[in-house]
């Protein structure tokens, strides 16, 4: 419960940061090439490999870090985009992340919205918000790390006991999901950090040739 409260504070802090940034855009040109809530240099990048199950203290500290303009998730991962490959953005550790510039989302994040809304929302609800049937993934991705996320999507998950009958299918063989797993992940990151509001992203970057080539290759395998 403690963790959830802290998480709520985190999201709130992120929202405030976003709002302030959005107001800035009405009066001045925002700084180029910086993602999210005015991302500064990574402050805790080394924590990216931290276990998926975060210690309570880590989560409790999160709002302070966010208030300083940092981009570190409760799970210790820094989401600052530093490099681009095949049309997708990655952080310093090579983990996929999103990039939102002047309100324009990168194509992979936009496509993550589309794929999420086709493959995931029938259980997990619109916009990563969760439903009566399945948890809010926009929150899950803040807690678990990228590799755990991948493993669950690939292999599925069961929570079947006297109180629950929750079963998530394995999507490892489903190209409509697996070819876009990183897109779905970064979309949920953007949702979870409140850098991306609910609904269809208003503006997106163009689809690059590298992205198209990689997509065609994956879908035709």
């Amino acid at each position: 419960m403690n963790a959830i409260t802290s998480l709520a504070s985190l999201v709130l802090a992120a929202t405030m940061a976003t709002t302030a940034w959005a107001q800035d855009t009405t009066t001045q040109t925002p700084p180029p090439a910086e993602a999210g809530a005015g991302a500064a240099a990574a402050t805790s990048g080394a924590a990216a490999a931290a276990p998926a199950d975060p210690a309570a203290g880590q989560v409790g500290d999160a709002p302070v870090e966010m208030a300083e303009g940092a981009t570190t998730l409760p799970n210790g991962m820094d989401i600052t985009p530093v490099s681009q490959e095949n049309g997708r953005w990655y952080n310093a550790e090579g983990i996929p992340t999103f990039k939102i510039e002047n309100g324009v989302v990168d194509f992979a994040t936009f496509n993550g919205f589309r794929r999420y809304s086709a493959e995931c929302h029938v259980c997990h609800g619109p916009d990563g918000e969760g439903s009566t049937y399945a948890p809010a993934l926009k929150t899950s991705v803040l807690r678990m790390d990228y590799y755990d996320f991948q493993e669950i999507v690939a292999s599925g998950k069961q929570d079947v006991n006297t109180a629950a009958n929750l079963v998530m299918p394995a999507f490892g063989t489903n190209k409509n999901v697996w070819c876009y797993i990183d897109d779905i992940y970064v979309y949920l990151l953007a949702r979870g950090t409140d850098e991306l509001p609910r609904g269809r992203p208003a503006e997106r970057a163009d689809k690059s040739e590298e992205y198209t080539a990689q997509e065609d290759s994956c879908m035709s395998m």
């Binding site: 809304s117 086709a118 009566t132 069961q158 009958n165 489903n174 208003a202």
Partner: protein, 620 residues
Amino acid sequence: MKRLLNSTVAVLLLSGTAYANDSVLAETAKPEQWAIQTGDYANQRYSELDQINRDNVADLRVAWTFSTGVLRGHEGSPLVIGDIMYVHTPFPNNVFALDLANDGKILWRYEPQQDPEVIAVMCCDTVNRGLAYADGMVLLSQADTTVVALDAKSGEVKWSTKIGDPAIGETLTATVMPVKDKVMVGVSGGEYGVRGRMTALNLADGTVAWKAYSTGPDEDMLVDPEKTTHLGKPIGKDSSLNSWEGDQWKIGGGTLWGWFSYDPDLNLIYYGTGNPSTWNPSQRPGDNRWSMTIMARDADTGMAKWFYQMTPHDEWDFDGVNENILTDQEVDGQMRKLLTHFDRNGFAYTLDRESGELLVAEKFDPAVNWATHVEMDPNSDQYGRPQVVAEYSTAQNGEDENTTGICPAALGTKDQQPASYSPKTQTFYVPTNHVCMDYEPFRVAYTAGQPYVGATLSMYPAPNSHGGMGNFIAWDNIEGKIKWSLPEQFSVWSGALATAGDVVFYGTLEGYLKAVDADTGEELYRFKTPSGIIGNVMTYVHGGKQYIGVLSGVGGWAGIGLAAGLTNPNEGLGAVGGYAALSDYTELGGQLTVFELPGEASAAAEPAAEPAPAEGGTSG
């Protein structure tokens, strides 16, 4: 209804044949019971009971409750046969027999062992739309496609038959319909590329009598190219194969997960087929026959008499599975055997159920905009087809294009939640959605047992309206007009019940059971049950006293889509989060709530008891 039953009896007497399904006709004719999910074969969901009526319904109170022990979406309703009430649950599909003569003591319970992996292929919650009763057996359709016949007194398994394969996405969510010596069983999985079909099992032992596919070669569909008709004309050879590109029909959907009806006079069963797979129309050029189709088939052989395809080449996921309500009414001074169907596509259709002739097709929500009208001129080459508005055509706008402002949304102006019909007011009472959408189709690959969707959609309350996501309406099926409409904050996802007491009952997603005046729609009573209602309201008599029963347990498509509330991307950021979230009103829970009037069963019970013997006597 009375006329229908009486003439049925006449036929039975004349023919002198004792059918095995006499039990269903007999049990559904007793208003003190609720023997099949739809109340009767005609799907009217009407009760002759009138102890609870418009003058005293305000005094309604909770008589007793029962927790099902399961937390998922609870659709359907309990059954009552004699002194026993039968309650079902979503997965794991437990069944409880409650002794009404002994304070609801559990007489027996059935807890099937199913591989939980089946949950992974249930697209929209692990719902189950309830049990059916026939020949001293309670019939259960399990999620894993097993149909089980249980001895109604002991719960002992009489037979068990698996009609599908969850490994390729096939599941069962619909109730079954026992007819004569058979049991009609549908199949779910339109979002997994399942090939829809009706499977008729022999009621005596569960063996398969016949299968009638919705798509494919003529022999698979049980059609006669010369005699099976569509709007009065023979469907011709290879009618389905000619309407698909290549082998797409094999993974083309047309599943059956709604309600079935039956006319004993005509010996025809009626049902609707679901969406064609995928949701991306560009991947399946053609009319995609016979998805989105009302079908009339011979109850013994399965041979198709007539089809009517409501939404050729679907572009919006407007499944045609909703119930077909059978009535005998006067049209232009002539008594007609009618079939009324409130489709997901937002049109309410009235047909002649003997010939399949289309009589009325009108919008039952003024917000519906994807088509201007249904062509009613038999001489037009567009006869019977909806006239699609290009702006809202996801096929014409094409893949990777976001088509905005389509009304209704994919969940339809109405989903499976069944309407009810009162012969007293000759009015239909219809739970509806008032939701619109943006829809962007894109290319998808098929993998067996995996979702096969191919479109992204965003939903929001109908613009320029009352801001709510639902209406509960009264409908005139002859004029094709709304009589009155009650705005609701959320979609109305509960099946309605009309009674001879001039009251109509329905549940809401917040969890209210509501009673309204059958003539005016005036609200007469409401009570907030522990969880949102997506179940159907039923009624019965025990110990001379009328009760109203309903299952609470939010979930299903409604719980998934509305839990976090809706947003409207077209109204800018200001609207985001501006709509009600279901999670602010209710939580998961599975409970039966039974209502009664205060006081013991008394003189008030006497008048209500009168119609019972009359009805039961003539048809027993």
